[in-house]
Symmetry: C2
Subunit: 377 residues, 2 copies
Amino acid sequence: MNRVCEMTGAEFPLFAFSHCRDVVAAVSKAGGFGVLGATRFSPDQLEEELAWIDAHVDGAPYGVDVLVPEVVDPRVRELADNKSRAAMIDPSYQGFVNSVLGEYGIAPEADLPILRERMGITPENGLALMEVAFRHPIRLIANALGIAPPAMIEEGKQRGVPVSALVGAKEHAIRQAEAGVDIIVAQGTEAGGHCGEVSTLVLIPEVVRELARAGHDIPVLAAGGIMTGGQMAGMMAAGAQGAWTGSIWLATPEAETSDAFREKMVAARSRDTVRSRSRTGKPARQLGTPWHAAWDAPEGPGTLPMPLMGMVSEPAFARIEREAAAGNAGARELVSYFVGQGVGLVEQVRSSRQVVQDFREEFIDAVSGLMAAMDTQ
Amino acid sequence: MNRVCEMTGAEFPLFAFSHCRDVVAAVSKAGGFGVLGATRFSPDQLEEELAWIDAHVDGAPYGVDVLVPEVVDPRVRELADNKSRAAMIDPSYQGFVNSVLGEYGIAPEADLPILRERMGITPENGLALMEVAFRHPIRLIANALGIAPPAMIEEGKQRGVPVSALVGAKEHAIRQAEAGVDIIVAQGTEAGGHCGEVSTLVLIPEVVRELARAGHDIPVLAAGGIMTGGQMAGMMAAGAQGAWTGSIWLATPEAETSDAFREKMVAARSRDTVRSRSRTGKPARQLGTPWHAAWDAPEGPGTLPMPLMGMVSEPAFARIEREAAAGNAGARELVSYFVGQGVGLVEQVRSSRQVVQDFREEFIDAVSGLMAAMDTQ
């Protein structure tokens, strides 16, 4: 269809970011391009996931997304591992977590169950995951936040694997291009997860123009808010070469999301998300709940830097999910996850394969509609 | 081209909102559809403006946008006129204005120069302006904020003039449809002026679907961030029947904007706008300056409700413009106006006629590009 398809082997330039291998394989087999989000895995776990994909993807192209943070907060940079980092967290945060959860019928825990064992989002884990990814027949490696590290660029070039990176502002796109990135994913403020302030509709032409002006001939994928083939065609009309999507796959039966969260997705309006630091430590869009209201309130304790905030929040969200699954109605109110404003367009749970097919049909309908309008002008 | 063109007489469904009659006439004559923003005029002034347009538009269709506030803050609702309303403003606000302006080299004024004479954004002025508009051969009347009043709907139906209204959420679109509005303008958070929180890209399909589901067969125009024909085609791919634009016309030589502001527009990035209550009292996007930082800071005095905030802010912004025009560099830093994130796409000042022509060419290029991509699939 275009250059980004040639670079990656995708038949239809619909890139599906998912933490779930089943989604990745299903999308790639249906002609899209699955990208496994690897940040939550240990290197051994990622090895297992990718071996599964290799065995189930029927030779279709797929990619991996890792997160090697470029900037680490000075408060955590010096420390060698998460055990030392966890020791920095003031015990008052446990009290605050307990009070928020307590208000919704979840009993307090004596110890702050921070993530001492898992590495989480750290530079060392990001690089280890990258090494695992390069041992598999990936057709794309993505860096989720900040500038792609030189090791990724170099190894990508050696192995002929395009490197992509997410940006939320035109200046960042130029920095990525100068670092040697092959594909820019320009992500608008409506996106789930880490996001900037500028909308996808404005960001796409702004990034495309800025790259061209600086002499970088690099394709741009549009991310943020895209849940339909009509929106995908729309962002390609505005200058993108394809769509990078995330939230839509959370509403598939293959996804890692709970029933409780998928039900909330179907019910949610676009206005029900918040851009908050209260889960990872950086501004990330997610379904808004009283958790976010409590942490973001002026009288709250303030949020911690990455990765400390996640060490505090993730065990709490795991607990919330367990309690909600066990029928605790209060806990259900707190169920949340990273999701973009496009959640307002989710009307039902569909299989990943069906979502790709729907995108392809909607894309054709949208282009046909535009052609008809132009013909009668 | 489509139904919204049939309803309004527009040749190309590019709707141009402007406070400047020259822009309105130039756009309509070039095949787009100019809409005069009338809120700043007295009824007599509006009469004069529309007579000028009638004499210069060569019979091309145009419209008028008024603002009849649906909800008036209880603190100001009871008062009969702006003189009584102005009396409510605590003198400490004058001190704050003086301190902000003083930091940028603008000498303090002894009296708070509030807008005692001009009516501003009030229900009584909105309705009076509407009556003036209906005495002219308008092809559209728009209500800028809240539900279109029954008087507007009834008179529009009697005279065969379609009524449009701006919405920032799907629930508001349904309320407008139930009130009898003929065309919905769905405006995303990236828009200049009063705006909601959801991006244009998400809002368009959400509003289109919700109207269809509720059985309302009403065309939707996309507003917010649209500065190019490629973006316009994109929003039409996503379900809109045309584009409603505002910021792009501020960068034309015909516009009411100052040289200082137009220079700032060309220099600005998309991230340089803020959504702030500090000019009108309601969240409105504008070019961010130290004025906005000061009012929106936690230690600031807080903002006043509409229309009181405008009575305080507008004389200050008028003063800023005068000082900037006189060469005061500090004042230049404070120069601001309502503008959307699309300001990052403004690269030069172009005539209104040229902007319409560029939109038409970009539109055709975008659709041709999509067709080519689809053909090679």
